[in-house]
Structure formats: C-alpha cells, structure tokens
Amino acid sequence: MSKSLIELKNVTMKFGGVTALSDVTFDVKEKEILGLIGPNGAGKTTVFNVITGVYQITSGEIIFDGQSLAGVKRYKITKRGVARTFQNIRLWGDMTALENVMTAADTHKKSGLVSGLFGFPISRREEKRDKARAQELLDFIGIGEYSDRLAKNLPYGVQRRLEIARAMGAEPKLLLLDEPAAGFNPAEKVELAATIRKIRDAGYTVLLIEHDMSLVMKVSDRVVVLDFGQKIADDSPRKVQDDPRVIEAYLGVPEDAS
Amino acid sequence: MKKRGLISVAAAAALAAASLVAVAPASNAAAKTITLAFQGPLTGEEASVGQDELAGMLYAIKLFNAKNKGKYVVKVVQADDQGDPAQSAKVAPGIASNKKIIGLVGAAYSGATIAALPYYKQRNLPMISPSATRVSITDPAAGNIGFPVFHRIPPTDKVQGPALFKLATKGVSSPKVFVVDDQSAYGVGLVDYMKPSIPAGQSAGFDSVSDKTTDWSATISKIKTAAANVVIYTGYFPQAAPFFKQLRDSGYTGILAGGDGVLSPTFVTLAPASVLEGVRLTAGTVPLAEIDAKLEADFVKKMGKASGVYAAESIDATNVFLAGIAKGVSTRAAMLKFVKSYSGKSLTGTTIKFDAYGDVAGGALNGFVVKGGVIKFDGPVK
C-alpha cells in the first residue's frame, strides 16, 4: 500500500454543545479516490472544513504530507497542497472562467504585487505560464470554450466543472470535491465519473463527498462512512455496501437520487 | 437711556451720510451699475453666519439703491465659500478675475480669508471683512498677509480677548475665571490673547470643546470642580446658548460672558430669558435694535427676517464701499485708495478709519448685558 497523504487522527469537532465530529480517524492514500459518504448531517462537509482550516478542531490531529495542519492559516493550507470545491457553488461571478482558475493558480506564484506593478521579468513569465496552465485545466475538464465568459453567466453544469478546475488551479496534492454531481442528470454523472478518474490518473489524490451512491461506488477506491459524526465504516466500495451498520444508518433515510 | 439716544442720532446721521449724494432722481438710463461681492458661508453647516452678514450687506445696498435711483445701481455677487478654506481658494480667483467687482465684503471667516488673500492681493481687490478677526491677518510681524487689500470692521482678537476678560470680571471681587473655547480659529484666538491678561490666581481653568457639542455636562463638571464664578465662552451663539443654559440649569450662579460671536439677536431666542439674564457680551459694534428700534423694524420689513450676527459690521463695511461709489469711484484702484483714506461714522457713531494694515484705528469695544431677553448696551469696556 502506498503512503498516506493526509491522516485524520481522533479528530473531534464541537460547536458549543453539539458534537459534529467525534473521534474520527481515517487517512487518504496518495493517488487514491476516497469516497466520503453518510446521511445528511453526518459531518461530511465538516470534515472538509476542518481539513481546510475553516474550523479549528477541538481535539485530535490532522497530518498532511507529514506535517500537522494545526493553526496553519487557511490560504497556507491551500499552498501546502489542499484545494476544495463548494457544495453550493461559490465561484467569483464577476470574473471570467479563466481568471477564476488563474486566481487559484496565483497561490504558488513567487512574484507579488510589486513585481507585477513594475513588470519584472519573473512576473511576466509566471503570468504567461499560469495563463497557459489555466487554459489547459479548463480544456482538461472539458470547458475550455467558456474561458472568456463571466462565471456568473455560465450554465449550471459548467459552473460545477469550473469549481473543480479552479481547485485544480491551486495545484493541490489533495483535491476535495464537495458533491460535484449535485443537480446533474445521469448522463452528466457518467461524464463526471470519467473526469474524476482522469484527475486521479493525472496524479491528484481525491477526497469525494457525494450523495449519489452509484457514482461513489463506481469511482471510489475506498469508501469511508460517517454517521452522526462518527466513522462507522472504512473499506472497499463493495464491502461497505454490504456492511449492516451502513445499511442501518441509511435505513429510514431514503436516499434522494439527486 | 442717554447713551442710547446718542447712538440713534449717530446712526441716523450715518445713514444719511451714506445717502448724502442722493440728488434728484435722474432718468433710469443714466444709472451706473457697480458690482460688489460678498464672500462667506451661504450653504452648509456654517451658513448661519454668512447668511446673516449677507442680509446686512443687502440691506445697506437696498437703502443705497433706493436713495440713488437713476444714478447708481449696486449689484452683489454672492460667493459662497461654506466657511471652508478649500472652497475659498477656488472662489477667490473667480472673484478676483471678475473685473466688474470693485470691492468685496468678506470673507466671513479668517481661514477662508487667508486662503483667498493671495488672489485678491494679486488683483488689487479691496476687501472689508465684517467678522474675520484673526490677528495674524493684519499683523506686520506675521508677514503682511492682508496688506494692502484687507480691512476689517471688528476689533481683533488681540483687542477683544483682554476686553472680554475685563468685562466678565467687572465688579467681581475675587474672580475665578473658567474659559471655554469652541476649537475654531476664532475661539482659540480669543483665548490665546486673553491668557496674558489674566492675573495670577484668577484662572480656574480652560476647556476646548468642539462647536458640534450638544451635551456640556463634562465641561460643567469641570467648572464646578474648579469652583469658578466667572465663565467665558469664546465661540458663536448657536453653541453659547445651550452651554449657558445647561450650566445655569445645573445650578451655576456665577457670571456668564461671551464675545462678538455670541452677540446675535438670535442668541436670546435660544434660551429662556431667565437663564440668559445677566449674560455679558463684548463687541465692536451694537445690534441694530439697540441702535434704534426703528432701524431693526425697517430691516425686518426689507429683508423679511430679523438682523443677525455681525449685522451692524456688515452694514458698516458695505457703507464704506457705498460711500466710495457715491463719490464716483468705479475702479478697484480708486476704491482701494478711497478705503485707505476713508474716515466716516459707523452705525454706532464711532469713527471708522483704517490704519495702514487694515484695522480700524483705535477700535474700542462695547459691553452688553442681557436683560429681560434683550441684549442691552452697557457702555464701552474701559
């Protein structure tokens, strides 16, 4: 087995009296697609939020690429190699698709405001390089033709894909996808599954939250199941599907086929 | 009152003098149009002072035009500077380059005056201010900022500061004086020139309070702590009235005093008569109603509102120019020469004659006291 890219060790997250995550431990291996599932309110998005530094965990530890993420500023976590998409699309609507990706790509720029202002060679070089890379990413994700359109004017499906391209713009080692298929029709979901695989094949590690079971089971190498903030399963898709605790957790909570 | 009668006579004489040249009405076609300008705050927060001064100027001109029907028509260009030096600096070049204008009443505020002066000096436009009292404008030691075009009717802070202190402590056996300024250049200037004249042991303290203040309780507490029996406010009437009122209402029984910025007929409408009873004020001039009730009545009739702060000064300033016009002056150079050599009576009967730097020579201060809700003349401050 290859080594872990990120490890959550006994992570607990409390909001006042509410425990959103309770003693959660799992890891994501390099170049793996890990599906994170669970009924509504199980704490899936909270996992994303504690990894990306939106919340500081109450106890436990998160190790990314050999280093703890405790107290690291959010943008620095991104710089270390974690990028995410949002369940409810949060693109920068007044920017073009290309600019959205380039903004994320700026994370690793060496040139800043001053060299940009005076047009130092390094700034020009990086600008040129990132522009090309951003366009490549848009092409890669299949929305290259929209690069000059304002994000807010794009069709819904394109916006969803742009979210992924933008996150990839930050050159993450670990890509966090929060319900990327929400609102997709079956054909689009099939396409998305292929895209996610393609992303992994390009060398990224993917942590995927998704409601659509068939999609998760199809693309994931491994699945972690959360229920009421606790990990109840962590295994291959097939075994998880047969796990009685998982079935129980989903029982009475009919899965919406969205 | 004997004194008052005397002043009325003088006022009548001054009015007559202004219209001396009124000969038999000639044909309208022969009327010569002369333009003067007014500069002061006419809009915005400071408009109160400027609008009152403008009314005084327009009143004097209305009288003059009526008397000189067919001979002269005097027009006024109203230059609103909002009391702001920045606004003044763009208005002044416009006024200065308008060759029709041969004299300027204003600017109302010292700051605006200083900002405008380079332009007026350059274009040789004579100006007479009814209210810019900052000492440095006419102080040769400060660099002749105003020379030669600047003149003013009121005495400077240098004269008024000590006089105000003298009036406020008159008849008080062991005065403990607390002085409050309004943080304006006017108020701070008065205090600065008053300080040297305060004998040791008579000062109870100072406070400096923004002219936007509405609640005076902290200042009042300081006054009480200092056990002051004389309180002087150097600022304008809109703040003086509430301050005095709150001070009295808190139980203070000592003397209240203020300078010419407080001397406005509006002042006494801003607080109950019982509260303002006995307030002492200084000014270089006298309110119109005190000069002659008929004069004030005529003012109200012609201008549609009561006269305000610096009304008499504005009329005096305007009358100097009008006297020149009546003598046939029609250029700036001639007007400046005329103003420099002018000697005539003010509304109150005193002599207006400018010294080389533009101050009224030997300007004395009058004292006033509020009685029964009216500002009464109380003799010159000696």
């Binding site: - | 408009a47 109160s48 609008q51 009152d52 400096s208 923004s210 609640d215 507490s221 509430p242 409408t269």
Partner: protein, 316 residues
C-alpha cells in the same frame, strides 16, 4: 483629578445616562434597519433632526410658548409633552418610511448591493438638512421651555432633574414596548424572520416590502422619540444637529453589536457614559478619539460588539 472625579461622579453619571438613553433610541433606528437590510441608514440622523423640529412645532407653535412664558404644570404639562412626543414620533416614523421608498426600495428590487443605497441615503440626507436650513434662515432654533427644570432630589450631591428622569423612564418604557412588539406580535416576528433569513421568509409567504416598511416605521418612531427627548433635555436644534448625534448613535449601535436590539441598549448606555467620563478626564476635545480607540479595542476582543450575542440571535 481622581478626587475631583469622585466628587462629580454621580452628576457625570446621570448626565451620561440620560444622554445614553437618547443614543439608545437613535441607535435603534440604525440597528433595526441594519437588521433587515444589512445597511447603514445614513438618513436616520436627519430623521432625528426632523423629530426635534416636530417637537418644537408643538411646543412653540401649537401651544404658543415663548422664552418668557410661564412654565406649564399639571395636566396641561403632560398634555403638551404627550402631544409633542406622539407628533415627533409620527412625523419621524412616516418620514422614515418615505425615505425607504425614495432611497432604498427601487434599489433593493434591483438587488444593487450595499453602496448605491448608501449614496442614495446620503443624498436624501443632504436634501433634508438643506431644506430645513433654508426654512430656518440657516439659524439655530430653540424650543421654549414648557416644563420647569426642577430637581426632584439629591443623590450623593448630584441633583436628579425632572427632565432626565422623564427621559430615562420613558425610554425604558418605549424599549420594553419595542421588545414586546418584536417578540410577541405577528409583525415583530416577521421582522425577525426577515432579518434572520430574507429568502426563507419570502418563501414562507411574508410580504418583504411590508416588513421592511414596518421596520423603517418602527425605527423612525424610536428615532422621533429620541428627537423629542433630546429637545426636552437640550432645547436647541438646527438643520445639522443630526450629523454628530447620528454618528454617535451609530457608534453606539456597533459598540453594542449592530443588528441587535439589546446591543443598541447596552451600546447606547456605554457610549453615553464613556463620552462623559472621557470628556472629564482627558478633555472634551479628545472625546471622539477615546471613543474610537475604545471601539477598536472592544471589536478586537469581542467581534460581535460589547454585549452582542452571536449575530443571528435576538436580531431585529
């Protein structure tokens, strides 16, 4: 200095409290509107200004008081004060609704963001204050004194004056009525719903326009009451009186936690006292500086304001 301060402590405190209660009422105007619209209602200061003039119209023009009149007593006094309070509240409340219609409504429908309404409200503010200035010949105006400013008693050498007492008690009553209105009535609940989540409220069938109008009305009523109390206490006003008081009240609202009715209460009191103490200790000229430094420190340590709860709770 400390000794002097202790000597003057209670009279400073009483002065600060009654000023604080006036701040509270104006701050409510800001905070209610902020609660539903997330916007600073810049015109609120002029609504206050109009409230002071409305009071003067009743006392001076309807009841014909002058600066040399005898003070009113007994039933007539309460009639005068009551009429003036109600008139000031109504005038300000209605004006506040009109301001919303003119300055905000169209922009809100166009979903225009925060700044366009801000500038529009500043424009309304200029129109109101300049109109009043022209109507008053640019001069300050005073309210004749209808009620003798009697001392009701002494408290540690500090006189308790009747007008301050009336202000504190009436403001408390108004505040209690407002809290009841917001918590108990249908409209009050609707206002809270809109402030918590406008979209959800709309889906629940709440008439957003109506609720916003009502919020402006209530905020205006409170601000108008402040205008009355202000006039009762200070008896002077001018076309530009609102500006400084408006900023002070807005500061109070933020100090307490903006958008939060209770925050306006604590913020107003805290600011009234702070201003008075700071003026005494450091000199009146440093009052504003002190207030802002304290404000920064407070917001630094308590990002939701001095007494503010989490943003979504008890929001108007």
């Amino acid at each position: 200095m400390i000794g002097n301060f202790l000597d003057q402590f209670w009279s400073l405190t009483f002065g600060g409290l009654s000023l604080g209660f006036i701040y509270i009422l104006i701050a409510l105007g800001y905070t209610m509107v902020y609660g539903v619209l997330r916007m600073i209602n810049f015109a609120n200061s002029e609504i206050f200004m109009v409230g002071t003039f409305a009071t003067i119209i009743i006392i001076r023009d309807l009841f014909k008081f002058t600066q040399v009149s005898e003070y009113a007593t007994g039933f007539r006094l309460w009639l005068i004060l009551g009429t003036a309070l109600i008139f000031a509240m109504l005038v300000s409340g209605i004006l506040s609704m009109l301001v919303e219609m003119v300055a905000y409504r169209r922009l809100r429908r166009m979903n225009s963001g925060v700044l366009a309404p801000l500038i529009s409200a500043i424009g309304v503010s200029m129109v109101l204050s300049e109109s009043v200035r022209i109507l008053t010949d640019s001069r300050p105006v005073a309210s004749p004194r209808a009620m003798e400013k009697k001392f009701l008693g002494q408290f540690f050498d500090a006189g308790i004056r009747i007008d301050n007492t009336i202000i504190v008690i009436s403001a408390l009553v108004l505040f209690a009525i407002l809290i009841t209105f917001v918590n108990k009535t249908r409209m009050g609940k609707a206002i809270r719903a809109v402030s918590m989540n406008p979209n959800a409220a709309r889906l629940m069938g709440i008439n957003i326009d109506g609720v916003i109008s009502a919020t402006f009305l209530v905020g205006g009523l409170m601000t108008g009451a402040a205008g009355f109390f202000y006039t009762l206490k200070y008896e002077n006003t001018s076309a530009f009186i609102g500006f400084e008081l408006g900023i002070a009240a807005f500061t109070a609202a933020i100090l307490g936690g903006i958008g939060n009715i209770k925050g306006a209460f604590y913020g107003g009191l805290a600011l009234g006292l702070l201003e008075t103490y700071a003026s005494f200790f450091l000199g009146t000229q440093w009052k504003a500086v002190t207030v802002f430094i304290v404000l920064v420190l407070v917001l630094y340590t308590k990002p939701n304001g001095l007494f503010g709860e989490a943003l979504t709770q008890t929001r108007a």
